[in-house]
Amino acid sequence: MADYKGVMVYGESTDGKLAAITTELLGCGRKLADDLGQELYAVILGSDINGLAQEAIAFGADKVFTVDDPLLKDYQSDSYTPVMEKVVKEVMPEIILLGQTSLGRDLAPRLAFRLDTAVSMDCIDLSIDPESKLMLQTRSVYGGNAQATFTSESSPQIATVRAKTMSSMERDDSRKGEIITIEAGLDPSAIRTKVLEKVIEEVEGIKIEDAEVVVAGGRGIGSEEGFKQLGELAKILNGAVGASRPPCDNGWISDSSQVGLTGKIVSPNVYIAVAVSGASQHMSGCSGSKNIIAINRDPDANIFKASHYGVVGDWKKILPAFTSKVKELLDK
């Protein structure tokens, strides 16, 4: 392990800027690197990735490795895995952090197995064990019913990290760092997949991940029409509509509105859960919310155990009265 040094963050971008998860990883990686007395690296793969490296430095990286190649335009495990393998073998980081994103979910295990090491997925807490100097990797397991702390003695130690569980540092554009380019060295014939199309399902209004208020509906909402009523409340509160899994499976609302373990992770100021029972897999996606408010007709529903305020009753009677009172209060 002695040859491996440094903490490396895998950088992702959205709309030409570093993704929120990446700045969060840099914040967390900075702490781990400081605890180990080592450097923080970022690695950025893609095509036309100008500007991102500088941003990674502003958010805490000491060195940024960039691999810019037209073959890296779209993420594919067949192209990204060998490039990352090459980067890791050149840089020899002791720790690699990726986001638990659609890319990270796919790349991290493949990369770990290629490097003959291990990865902990969906970590919610990472720290350095003062004695062994190994990274303590705490992740949520059993659908959020439990948490487990792991270590791995094979190098590099790899973890993916859940969104919104780590804090970014303040952006500081005066920070200095080094940018190093690495050649992709890809053999196009080794790429056995082709990305034919990318479909973005646009949702109206604010993105659920960015919203300060989320109004979420569960199976008890019962219809697409019911979700329109949740939409009205969300609009008044300048928030977004979310859902547990059954409404998405039933097509009452788009799949991208699903909150939870296998959906979006949100931590708004206000999370209003209407006719949601509060299954652990759902709570995994919203338990970081500052104020959770539950409306449910079952007084024993698990959601009340996780909520700050609640009303027991039929949402069909409660919601209209609540919505109009909220509107009246906010209009004042």
Partner: protein, 266 residues
Amino acid sequence: MNMVVCVKQVIDPEAPPASFKINQSDNTVVPPSGIPPVLSPFDENAIEAALQIKDAQGGKITAVSLGINLLRDVVKKPLSMGADDLILLEDEAFVNGDSLSTAYALAMAIKKIGEYDIIFCGRQAADWDAGQVGSGIAEILGLPCVTLAKKIDITNGKARIERVTADGYEVIEVSLPALITVSNEFGEPRYPTIKGIMAAKRKQPIVWKAADIESESSKLGATGRRTKLLKLFQPVREGECEIIEGESPEEAAVNLALKLREAKVI
């Protein structure tokens, strides 16, 4: 089309949260009494994906499951849904592994099965939620892998897959053989038919021990682990819920709005 589907028996992930208990002394989960285990739900989506291909163009489906004390009623579900064969890797040597050692045993078993065009896995097992085994099998067998499928079309020896992304999906074409992991967006798995259940009852699973597959014992099960579990625990929930009441549901609703305003929540 020859297809292999990997399935896992797990503690029912939708059991009431209050029934979930941990044995702190050995970092294990206590199976809830009276709640039988189930197939990991995403694995049922994976069986459904294979069955739809079989329905459309014929083929053979072999389900493979690794574990010990596998309840026949649970692991036979793929057969009752319409799969052709069931292989159980049922040996102490295979269990208590991590994602890598589990993927290794499954990959070696699939190698022994021999012919395959598509290997299916669920996107993640509903107990450890790691979502690594599919990628691991693909890596060991040198196959391309597409994760999080919600739709699969097969034409001219290629699969066209809609892969779930954070705000939609992407369409990916992959040459076969390949490994595909399936997400719940694929759609509800079918219910077994009476005929299927009867057929599954008569069918005996094939059981393979470690000696039956060509493998290095140092890479199997607990010996093959790369990760060490230090601690398994239940997170503590703090705080209490303030229940807002009223003479009628409407009044309770108004009181809730007033309370939230007063507490400056909204």
